[in-house]
């Protein structure tokens, strides 16, 4: 037997520096931000009895008879969501077309449009709402505007990605008929993306209903505004009722919208 066949085999483990580094960063971020936010688990636990007392005031019992007064602002919230997502979809469509690089084959068009889209998408609806309340005053107009911009960003991002994923063969075929850009859009692109586009609009609507419920908190109309007013006046049982009704309204709308979306695509 040769000497080296008995030699101990030593395999050097690859350094897992990257892995440990990532863990370190994550741990640091979690603790760092908790510290920074003044989050303290002891404090949370010691205030538990207060939390229970509040729940008791909210829901035992809620102000059942207040329900009729919730319907109107709730409708306003849904309306805001509908108008916001509808307008968002309307503007999102042409903009997605400009952003899609398989339709407008010009980087000088696609890139700036995408940058603008990404900027819009990173601003949360609540921030937009606060901004518009400051500019246009308290009321649902500011809320609708915020939801509109938010939906626009959401729908156009998803739609232009869908356009870029279409079957390009159909575009070639329609082009070969002598079609212009509008006709290519009408015959080769719209039929392929319409179901997705409608589904994205509905999705934006779902997200909007949830967002709209909160937007009122910064004065942008709807149920949130009613909530905020009652909370300020410490009508906790009414607040409890608002929470219950909003919860079920959002749930029902979600279920319906989800089902339609499933059927679309």
């Amino acid at each position: 037997m040769s000497k080296d066949s008995n030699e101990k085999i030593v395999l050097k483990k690859p350094l897992r520096f990257k892995f440990y580094f990532t863990i370190g960063v994550v741990v640091f971020l979690i603790f760092g931000s908790a510290l920074f936010a003044g989050f303290n688990i002891i404090e949370v636990l010691s205030n538990l009895d207060q939390t229970f007392r509040l729940l008791d005031k909210l829901f035992l019992p809620p102000a059942w008879d207040y329900t009729s007064r919730i319907i109107a602002p709730l409708f306003e919230t849904v309306q805001m969501a509908i108008v916001g997502s509808f307008l968002g979809a309307l503007v999102a469509f042409p903009v997605s077309v400009l952003a899609a690089d398989n339709f407008i084959e010009n980087k000088f068009v696609n890139t700036p449009v995408r940058i603008v889209l990404n900027i819009f998408r990173t601003i949360p609806a609540l921030v937009l709402a606060a901004l518009f309340v400051a500019v246009f005053g308290i009321g649902s107009f500011a809320g609708i505007l915020a939801l509109f911009i938010f939906s626009f960003g959401l729908i156009s991002k998803l739609t232009y990605e869908s356009i870029e994923a279409i079957d390009y063969g159909q575009v070639e075929a329609i082009k070969s008929l002598g079609a212009n850009k509008f006709e290519i859009l009408r015959y080769a692109i719209v039929p392929q993306i319409l179901p997705q586009f409608m589904s994205y609009t509905l999705y934006a609507f779902e997200v909007n209903v949830r967002a709209a419920a909160v937007l009122g908190y910064v004065g942008a109309g709807g149920i949130g505004q009613t909530y905020e007013r009652n909370l300020a006046m410490r009508y906790f049982d009414r607040v409890g009722m608002i929470i219950i009704v909003s919860f079920f309204a959002v749930l029902i709308i979600d279920v319906i919208s989800r089902n339609i979306r499933k059927r679309l695509v």
Partner: protein
């Protein structure tokens, strides 16, 4: 009818798909283009209607009326005579027949030129979410103002053209069906009808039967041959079955590595000899996979 002069195509990624192609195609021919996958057949077809722009070279169409961009082919006098016999009033002295280089056209002129060239594909590329009639009418886009085509409102005259096209490929009974309900063979017939609705003078067919079963393959080839013979539509088809080429084409052009390496009239040589020649085009023996097989 069509004359490619020094046509080259290099894709953005550097692939040289066509290398200095020179090829003349005559009116009424049925040209089968054969070659291995990746040889450049699809690129060649797509440069003819310029849905893929050439990198260099010219593609001339003979005797095109400079006003309407209609093609009068290799023998305009005969074309005019034919049109007159069909009751279409054309006089030679009203025409301004010139050779048009499609690679130099832009915008509306390019689109009108294209509208006279039909194209069908392996994957059919009809619009699945539209009805058959809407698909065929889309062949009329270049003949109508954009507002009409966008709204999908075509004049009765165009509808008649579409119905006749559907009748020609024996699928009139499917006029109002949704395209996605059709079988592959039916979809390809709708695509042929769409080209007929264009009143195209040329049909480009990129592997038109490659995704069909043998029986449907022959059916669809018969329709392509029919419009080639009856309507005098000059046909160029990429095929990958040598028996189809021998049976339907009048001429076989072999492409290898972006170059034309073979070009022969089908009836000028024995079929078995042509098959022997094709082994050089393919760079390998011709085997079972190159035949559709029994009819």
């Amino acid at each position: 009818m069509i004359k490619l002069v020094n046509v080259s195509k290099t894709y953005k990624n550097g692939t040289e798909a066509l290398k200095n192609i020179n090829l003349e195609i005559y009116e009424g021919e049925f040209v089968a283009i054969l070659g291995l996958s990746g040889a450049g057949k699809s690129t060649l077809l797509r440069t003819i209607n310029q849905i893929i722009p050439v990198s260099s070279g010219n593609i001339f169409f003979k005797n095109v009326d400079h006003n309407t961009y209609k093609m009068y082919g290799d023998n305009p006098d005969k074309t005019i005579e034919n049109l007159n016999s069909k009751g279409i009033d054309v006089k030679k002295e009203d025409l301004n027949l010139v050779d048009v280089d499609i690679t130099k056209l832009k915008g509306r002129k390019m689109r009108i030129m294209r509208s006279h060239i039909g194209m069908i594909f392996q994957s059919f590329n009809i619009i699945k979410r539209m009805s058959v009639i809407q698909n065929v009418l889309s062949g009329r886009v270049a003949y109508n103002p954009t507002w009409r085509t966008i709204l999908g409102i075509f004049p009765e005259k165009d509808k008649q053209i579409a119905y006749r096209a559907l009748k020609k490929v024996d699928i009139l009974e499917k006029t109002y069906s949704r395209a996605n309900e059709l079988s592959g063979g039916q979809m390809q017939r709708v695509a042929i009808a769409r080209s007929l609705a264009q009143q195209a003078n040329i049909l480009l067919a990129d592997e038109p039967v490659a995704s069909l079963d043998p029986i449907t393959t022959f059916e669809v080839m018969e329709y392509i041959k029919k419009v080639n013979v009856e309507d005098g539509i000059t046909t160029i088809a990429n095929l990958h079955h040598v028996d189809l080429a021998l049976k339907y084409a009048t001429r076989i052009v072999g492409v290898r590595d972006g170059k034309i390496v073979y070009d022969i009239e089908v009836n000028s040589k024995k079929g078995t000899d042509i098959i022997d020649d094709l082994e050089k085009v393919y760079g390998r023996p011709i085997g079972n996979q190159d035949y559709v097989g029994e009819e």
